[in-house]
């Protein structure tokens, strides 16, 4: 009985004290020892737009040596492969497989360790002729695309095709006084707006609608407060992660420029304290 009654009473007392407090802060009679109240902080939302890697990473020298060693172990310890199930006896496909397998054995164990041949030279010649024939038939003009894009060589920071092995992030150049600063696209929240809605609205207002993007979650992934100045209210920036699927950024005024850069390249462009605030939100991959 006492618990349900206690809550409204406490709230009422709280309201009374609040109304008294506002009355006390009225400009006519400031209290003698009122603490210095800083103005309301300004909330910003910022979108970290990410282009995920489009190529697999190149293995390091150590990784390649490790994989080569493991491939040899695997070849030595694997269970027997039922080739008679997969290939008909005497078929062209079987000859093809046997030739490839011999080549792989030579790579793994060297020419000395290759399996002994139990085929007659005539049969071998016939196999080889068949293989050559299939090779002629299967020849295609497809060529592997280079892992280095022309935009890498041209240092085209606007291109989404650069640095295919890395995560790229969008930085925009915002005029600030006489000069300009590089940062993630940022906008101010409006009254009564939720953070993730503000992030979506501001981002498209600044970077255009000519791209297909997805903001990953409604929760911010990080927060940044620049060193406070005495005169101005505090700035608080909440960051949201987003992916770009298609299209390209078209920066709207007053933004001057944009770049697609990796984590390491961001460090060179942004201010030191901004870098300290955002570096842990960015991927090392």
């Amino acid at each position: 009985m006492s618990v349900p009654l206690a809550r409204p009473c406490r709230r009422a007392a709280h309201l009374v004290s609040r109304s008294l407090a506002t009355a006390a802060v009225s400009p006519s009679s400031p209290p003698p020892h009122a603490p210095h109240k800083s103005p309301k902080p300004v909330l910003y939302t910022s979108v970290i737009l990410n282009r995920s890697p489009i190529l697999t990473p190149s293995p390091t020298t150590f990784e390649r040596a490790f994989y080569a060693y493991q491939q040899r172990i695997r070849r030595a310890l694997h269970n027997p492969f039922p080739s008679e199930f997969y290939f008909k006896q005497g078929s062209l496909l079987e000859a093809h497989y046997n030739a490839e397998e011999r080549a792989r054995e030579r790579v793994a164990w060297g020419p000395k360790y290759a399996r002994e041949e139990d085929v007659s030279p005539e049969k071998r010649a016939a196999e080889q002729a068949a293989l050559d024939q299939t090779e002629m038939q299967e020849q295609s003009d497809d060529k592997l695309v280079s892992r280095v894009h022309p935009s890498d060589a041209a240092r085209d920071y606007h291109s989404l095709d650069r640095k295919g092995r890395r995560n790229l992030y969008l930085l925009v150049e915002r005029p600030s006084g006489a000069s300009s600063v590089w940062e993630f696209p940022r906008g101010e929240t409006q009254q009564g707006e939720l953070l993730h809605q503000a992030a979506h609205r501001d981002f498209h207002a600044q970077c255009g609608n000519h791209m297909d993007t997805w903001i990953v979650a409604r929760k911010p992934i990080g927060v940044y407060k620049p060193p406070a100045l005495e005169t101005s209210p505090e700035d608080i920036t909440f960051f949201f992660k987003a992916h770009i699927m298609a299209g390209q950024v078209r920066p709207q005024l007053p933004l001057k420029d944009f770049v697609w850069v990796t984590k390491q390249e961001i460090e060179k462009r942004v201010k030191k304290d901004y870098w300290q605030g955002v570096k842990d939100m960015l991927s090392d991959h």
């Binding site: 995920s52 697999t56 020298t61 060693y69 172990i73 310890l77 790579v107 990953v216 929760k219 090392d284």
Partner: protein, 294 residues
């Protein structure tokens, strides 16, 4: 990490001469094969594309999507009286659940931490074959199909935990249908690189070629959040026999199999607690597994 181009002077695939054997190796008494000094174990032998994708993109995204903020440590769980008096010597070493059961479906997920970011632990494929009850030799085609699909063999590459394709036996007697200890199906557990390879085949070759497949159906909104399947972090799908022919490993010699086999596929993640299945779906959706509402 940045990869600087490195000049490699020596071949990485060839190794020097093995050291001379000074003392003969012990031999297995049964097989008479030499036992090496060190356990030789096959590990990853090639970079794995989907695993890289998980670490580069998915782990981060699913962490942001499924993160639940908690202010401070959780209060200790409420102590619930046990069913039987624990001081009674009769109940001492017997099962003694709390009153009202262990409430498995209502356990909250563990607090989010870097170590329990959702990840795919294993994929289990299993298939029940009705005709195997009549003749166990009917299982051979299924076993070969599963082996061709997954590439798993028992203790392959020296890995003793890898069981390969296992035969599933009946457990109980159901009149006119099944008897205990008769082989009725086959299953495979996939972990690591073979798991990601199978997943890539499924989402890139098979699912896009299925007719009238809008995606995996999500349960209706009224479905319980506390059912055992909803709190276990497993996404399960079934494939019809027609889907088997689209796997590239089967497609090359489809006529070698006596018939097509359907299969159940379970994607087992490390998510537990309330909402675990939804978190598992978020992860699997990142691997391009399509989900849809009825």
């Amino acid at each position: 990490m940045p990869h600087t181009p490195q000049r490699v002077a020596r071949s990485l695939t060839r190794f020097g001469r093995p050291p001379p054997v000074k003392k003969p190796l012990h031999r297995n008494w049964r097989t008479r094969l030499p036992i090496p000094h060190v356990p030789i174990l096959g590990r990853e032998f090639a970079p794995c594309r989907l695993e890289t994708h998980y670490h580069a993109t998915l782990a981060e995204d699913t962490m942001y999507m499924t993160y639940i903020h908690e202010a401070g440590p959780r209060p200790p769980p409420r102590q619930i009286r046990l069913t039987y008096d624990p001081s009674n010597p009769y109940a001492r070493f017997r099962a003694n659940p709390p009153v009202g059961g262990d409430q498995l479906g209502k356990k909250p997920p563990p607090p989010d931490s870097p170590s329990n970011v959702i990840r795919l632990e294993k994929i289990v494929i299993h298939s029940f074959l009705k005709t195997a009850i009549v003749s166990r030799s009917n299982l051979l085609g299924l076993i070969m199909a599963l082996r061709a699909l997954t590439g798993e063999t028992e203790k392959g590459a020296g890995k003793h935990a890898v069981k390969g394709v296992e035969v599933v036996y009946g457990k109980k007697s159901v009149g006119g249908w099944i008897r205990p200890d008769i082989p009725v199906g086959a299953k495979v557990e996939l972990r690591g690189a073979p798991m990601y390879d199978f997943l890539a085949q499924l989402v890139e070759f098979v699912l896009p070629r299925l007719k009238d497949f809008p995606g995996i159906l999500l349960p209706p909104p009224a479905a319980s959040d506390h059912s055992p399947s909803a709190v276990s972090g497993v996404v399960s799908i079934g494939l019809t026999p027609t889907a088997m022919q689209f796997f590239p490993g089967i497609e090359v010699n489809l006529d070698a199999y006596p018939r097509s086999y359907g299969m159940h596929i379970h994607f087992v993640t490390n998510a537990t607690g309330v909402g675990a299945e939804n978190r598992a779906r978020a992860l699997m959706s990142g691997f391009q597994l399509p989900f849809t509402r009825r």
